[in-house]
């Protein structure tokens, strides 16, 4: 049992920290790739910018300018700084629900990116700056894991993290594999950059060796059972935490949330991996992303914004 508003805030902390981490990683990979002036480098920049939803950015800004704006622009609702500020604002509203250790990690990152000296730090070493944000967000998640009770509040935090992750990785895969107009990605450099953007390069190499092929990447990021950023892994966690949170709800509405999550999990668990065609991934990805959106809506209906009339004591 916890306040509905608190569950909502914890859920959004999860979403925003995951978003910030993903954006930081995308920016970092993009900046690194565009140090070379090759076609592959501009392909990587296109992927990164499309994946964050900035279609028209390459016309006006250099990759560096785009990354700077993505990192520090407080006006931009999608920037890393905005996501971190919102995560922390939510954390402040539920300060009594998260441990001091967890709060301190998040507060520290926030103070660093909103420091007036942040833009200078970015200019001095963008890669180090972004790397530190990612590392600190890992510390935040680690502190949460090690110090918070793994009860209901924890589940909402993780629901936010995994739902956001599923949507972000899904979007990235869509950009790379679901567009039938573009020819398939084949360039080795672009493919490793894609793996880096999903933090998947090393686990991929261990699983498939240095044989880097688009079909295997898609298979890995969609269906790997153990890799924490694969769609299969994330949807399994969504199902696990949603079922855990719904356990306490006596109201009948809880069943629909569980059903949605269970179906999504099964869809990826029992997918026909062997016969997966590269350009056939689009339909499945669309379905998965739609179902993620439906789960988000159901979380609200079940736990947060439920109609009062249904829950009044008799």
């Amino acid at each position: 049992m916890m306040l509905a508003r608190v569950a909502d805030s914890l859920y959004w902390i999860g979403r925003y920290v995951e978003r910030a981490e993903h954006m930081a990683r995308l920016s970092d990979v993009m900046l690194n790739a565009t140090l070379d002036r090759t076609d592959a480098a501009s392909e990587v920049a296109r992927i990164a910018m499309s994946a964050v939803g900035e279609q028209d950015i390459d016309k006006t800004l250099t990759p560096y300018e785009a990354a700077l704006a993505l990192a520090l622009d407080r006006e931009d609702g999608g920037s890393i700084t905005t996501s971190l500020a919102r995560a922390r604002e939510n954390a402040r509203q539920v300060r009594d629900q998260i441990t001091t250790e967890t709060w301190e990690r998040l507060n520290l990152i926030y103070l660093r990116v909103t420091d007036p000296a942040a833009s200078k730090a970015f200019a001095d070493g963008s890669s180090a700056f972004l790397h530190d944000i990612i590392a600190d967000l890992h510390l935040f998640k680690g502190a949460a894991d090690a110090t918070m009770s793994h009860g209901e509040g924890w589940r909402f935090l993780l629901l936010g993290i995994y739902l956001e992750r599923a949507q972000l990785i899904g979007r990235l895969l869509e950009v790379c594999f679901a567009d039938r107009q573009r020819r398939a990605m084949t360039d080795h450099f672009a493919l490793t950059s894609l793996l880096r953007m999903s933090c998947a390069l090393e686990p991929y190499l261990r699983r498939y060796t240095a044989d880097i092929q688009p079909r295997l990447i898609l298979e890995f990021l969609m269906f790997d059972e153990d890799f924490p950023r694969s769609m299969r892994f994330t949807t399994a966690r969504i199902e696990e935490h949603l079922v855990g949170a719904a356990r306490y709800v006596e109201h009948a509405g809880a069943a629909s949330a569980e059903r949605l999550a269970g179906r999504l999990k099964a869809r990826l668990q029992y997918a026909d991996v062997e016969n997966l065609e590269l350009n056939g991934a689009g339909a499945l990805l669309t379905t998965v992303l739609d179902e993620c959106a439906a789960i988000h809506a159901t979380i609200y209906e079940t736990f947060v914004a439920y109609p009062l009339e249904m829950r009044l004591p008799a």
Partner: protein, 493 residues
């Protein structure tokens, strides 16, 4: 009087000079400060600056901040915190404790009386219209049962130390007093800053405040609710004391709720949880009377809960502090507190008031008019420095204008001598310099009255200033209340 204080001849020779907490007028260090003074002497200016920086970082990391809005962005600042603790010996504290306990007991009895039989008004001890016409008097509270007669469950009284070394009460805060989180955070910080001196000094612990608060709140719940649900009601994250609300909620393990989380149905109060509605028994509200229920008090309030007061009247929920306690810390009622104590308890007040002249009494008004150049005159209903005349600093014309205003509406004015606050050593720009301080201890009253052995010491950081409010450049420092056997121990560096 003060049994513990070593009376220094020189103090008496210089009646106008403020009392210094560490240094006697003769220039010596008071014995309870000796260990700290020694320790500080071994630290270089750089050491002190380093410790100050660590201290500030601790506050920043914990998020103990308030937001300053301005220009394009808002920044968060910490409330200035001073490195050096203020130290109070056991015997002095014993008197403060006894005095505060006595005072709060009498004030609770006073509240129970005026919201009940009104015996004290009938006996003419306190003028009837003074109480019943005060804006803070809540007619809605009349004849409403309050368990243990504990109206002000949390009280934060402001004490000052006068030039003669005796403590006096400047103000009682019986509404929604704040600052206790700073008392606790300052303690955390000073344990890190002076661990050795702290250990050797024998400082009484304040750590139990949160559980004592919880016990106090639970003792207010109805007997038939065996495991009462306690919540902290905050105006929200933009309130300047939000940190404190969250801090207390976290340390009590009570949900921190906002008005929008609560629902009243059938005169019961519920909170919206993930699993449905859950009944609430006790609300520790950090929202002013005016805003707790738009149906009963201010209609434009978005912070409160519609129907909350009716649920309270029905006995289905307890609001702490009770609404209407403000009438007992009103500026004019303040002057009667010694009488109130004598009336209910048959005792003299242990802690004196600041001498206060009520212009409503003709003799006192004449005294005020004759001494306008020496007094501070305050309008009873006003606060925050409005409607105030500081006699010694006013022009002849201002005094003449004020005299007319007093004659026209004497009941609206009180006057007090210009007060003097004691000073305590503070670290200012790397050097140690005395600054004026006051003292805000916290008293809990439920089934019984408990004074926490510690306090918030507020500091006027500007040299010579007497303004300790955090909104106007005030800061705070830790307050060490020593155990009885503490004096005379060697301090570990």
């Amino acid at each position: 009087m003060a049994t513990a204080r070593r009376t220094d001849e020189a103090d008496l020779e210089r009646p106008g000079a403020p009392y210094d907490e560490m240094i006697t007028a003769a220039g010596g260090v008071r014995p309870h400060y000796a260990a700290l003074a020694q320790r500080v002497q071994t630290l270089s200016e750089a050491d002190l600056a380093e410790r100050q920086k660590t201290l500030e970082r601790f506050f920043l990391l914990q998020g103990i901040t308030f937001t300053v809005y301005g220009g394009e962005s808002s920044t968060e600042r910490i409330i200035p915190t001073d490195l050096l603790p203020r130290i109070i010996p056991a015997a002095e504290w014993a008197k403060i404790e006894a005095g505060l306990t006595q005072r709060l007991r009498a004030l609770n009895m006073f509240l129970a009386d005026i919201y009940g039989e009104q015996q004290i008004l009938m006996d003419g001890v306190v003028p009837r219209e003074l109480v019943l016409c005060a804006p803070s008097y809540r007619r809605e509270m009349q004849n409403l049962y309050v368990p243990h007669q504990a109206y002000a469950n949390v009280c934060g009284s402001d004490l000052i130390r006068q030039p003669d070394g005796a403590f006096a009460v400047l103000e009682d805060n019986l509404r929604v007093p704040s600052g206790v989180s700073y008392m606790l955070a300052n303690r955390e910080a000073s344990k890190r800053t002076f661990p050795g001196t702290f250990r050797a000094a024998g400082v009484r612990s304040v750590d139990r405040y949160p559980d004592l608060l919880l016990a106090t709140l639970k003792s207010m719940a109805a007997d038939w609710r065996p495991n009462p649900q306690v919540v902290v009601l905050t105006p929200g994250v933009y309130n300047s004391a939000y940190y404190e609300h969250a801090y207390l909620a976290r340390l009590m393990g009570a949900p921190l709720v906002e008005g929008r989380d609560l629902v009243v149905h059938d005169n019961m109060v519920y909170m919206r949880t993930t699993t449905g509605l859950r009944r609430i028994d006790v609300i520790y509200r950090r929202v002013d009377d005016d805003f707790i229920d738009p149906l009963t008090f201010r209609r434009d309030s978005g912070l409160g809960v519609a129907g909350l007061f009716n649920a309270y009247r029905a006995g289905n929920v307890v609001i702490c502090n009770a609404p209407g306690t403000g009438v007992a810390d009103d500026k004019a009622v303040y002057a009667y507190v010694p009488e109130i104590i004598r009336y209910y308890l048959g005792e003299d007040a242990i802690l004196p008031n600041i001498e206060t002249f009520l212009c409503r009494e003709p003799a006192q008004m004449n005294h005020v008019l004759a001494n306008l150049d020496k007094l501070v005159v305050k309008a009873v209903g006003a606060s925050g420095g409005y409607g105030m005349l500081i006699g010694p600093h006013a022009s002849k014309k201002e005094r003449a204008d004020f005299a007319e205003a007093i004659k026209a509406d004497p009941e609206n004015y009180i006057a007090q001598p210009t007060i003097q606050l004691s000073t305590a050593p503070c670290l200012i720009d790397g050097a140690i310099d005395p600054r004026h301080v006051d003292l805000r201890p916290f008293i809990l009253s439920g089934e019984k009255i408990v004074v926490t052995p510690g306090a918030l010491t507020r500091v006027a950081l500007k040299k010579g200033s007497l303004v300790v409010n955090s909104s106007q450049g005030g800061g705070s420092k830790d307050t060490w209340v020593l155990t009885a056997d503490a004096l005379g121990k060697e301090a570990q560096p």
